[in-house]
């Protein structure tokens, strides 16, 4: 598990590889030449190297269709980031509730309170 995670973070550390992932998130599966078109400053073999790295880190997978390789995001590509995301989701939900209560206490005098939040009110 450690080694998978290390490979993931090493792979994600490169801005070109992050941009490739962004493109796959935005547009769905893409061929190498479609991806290369988005990086005019890079040769196609450079893109292929990045794609190999992303495959080794289990971030993308490839299917051969005729003479083309189609690259797509792995469904659980960002699993190793989940602990950080979960921790901060809880933290920020309660922090924003604190902020709301502080600011609304300030202006409580003349305003009707109708608490409407995107979040659940209290998270324990």
């Amino acid at each position: 598990m450690e080694t998978n995670s290390d490979a993931l973070f090493r792979s994600l550390a490169d801005p070109t590889r992050r941009r490739i992932l962004d493109l796959l998130v935005e547009r769905g599966p893409m061929t190498v030449s479609q991806l290369a078109f988005e990086f005019p400053g890079l040769v196609t073999s450079g893109i292929s190297k990045h794609l190999m790295n992303l495959r080794a880190a289990s971030l993308v997978s490839a299917d051969r269709q005729g003479r083309q390789q189609i690259y797509r995001l792995e469904p659980d590509a960002f699993g190793a980031l989940a602990p950080w995301i979960a921790k901060y989701e809880r933290y920020w939900s309660t922090a924003l509730e604190r902020l709301r209560d502080l600011a609304e206490d300030d202006s409580a005098k003349s305003k009707v309170k109708s608490h409407k939040t995107v979040q659940r009110r209290k998270i324990k």
Binding site: R18, D22, K87, W92, L99, K113
Partner: protein, 145 residues
């Protein structure tokens, strides 16, 4: 890319909401009771994070009163090579203010060596306990004001 997005509707004008962004004391009431921050662009900040073990630090990247606050966000001792980012924006709505929080950039942290980072944690454990107590003291004194 994975990120945290939270949005809340506050029944108060942006001016009133920003009061709680504008000073260190204001931020201590809702972000963290022990945050120390130099509130200007390029200014540094630091506080004990959500798990009460990890120190978070970074710099103020953008500061536009009543509009937005953007911080870089680094977990100390967690092996991060690059910071994540916290973006807080205020938008006036009919009834008050919509505050939106985006915490992103986790994919760029470049954490190089997971087992190594765990070892650092264990070595730092005693230090963390002292800092926990310090945080409690800061919290208590602030809570009584």
């Amino acid at each position: 890319m994975p990120q945290v997005i939270r949005s809340i509707e506050i029944q108060a004008a942006p001016t009133q909401v920003w009061r709680w962004f504008a000073t260190q004391e204001g931020l201590r009431r809702w972000i963290s009771p022990n945050i120390v921050i130099d509130l200007r662009v390029g200014g540094r900040y630091r506080f004990l994070g959500p798990d009460d073990q990890t120190w978070i630090s970074g710099t103020v990247l953008e500061l536009v009163p009543e509009e937005r606050l953007i911080l870089s966000w680094l977990e100390e001792g967690s092996g991060w090579e690059n910071p994540a980012r916290l973006v807080l924006t205020l938008v006036q709505t009919g009834a008050g203010t919509q505050v939106t929080l985006v915490h992103d950039g986790f994919e760029g942290i470049g954490r190089p060596d997971w087992p190594g980072a765990l070892l650092d944690y264990e070595r730092g454990a005693d230090l963390h306990r002292i800092l926990d107590k310090l945080a409690d003291l800061v919290y208590e004194s602030d809570g009584n004001q």
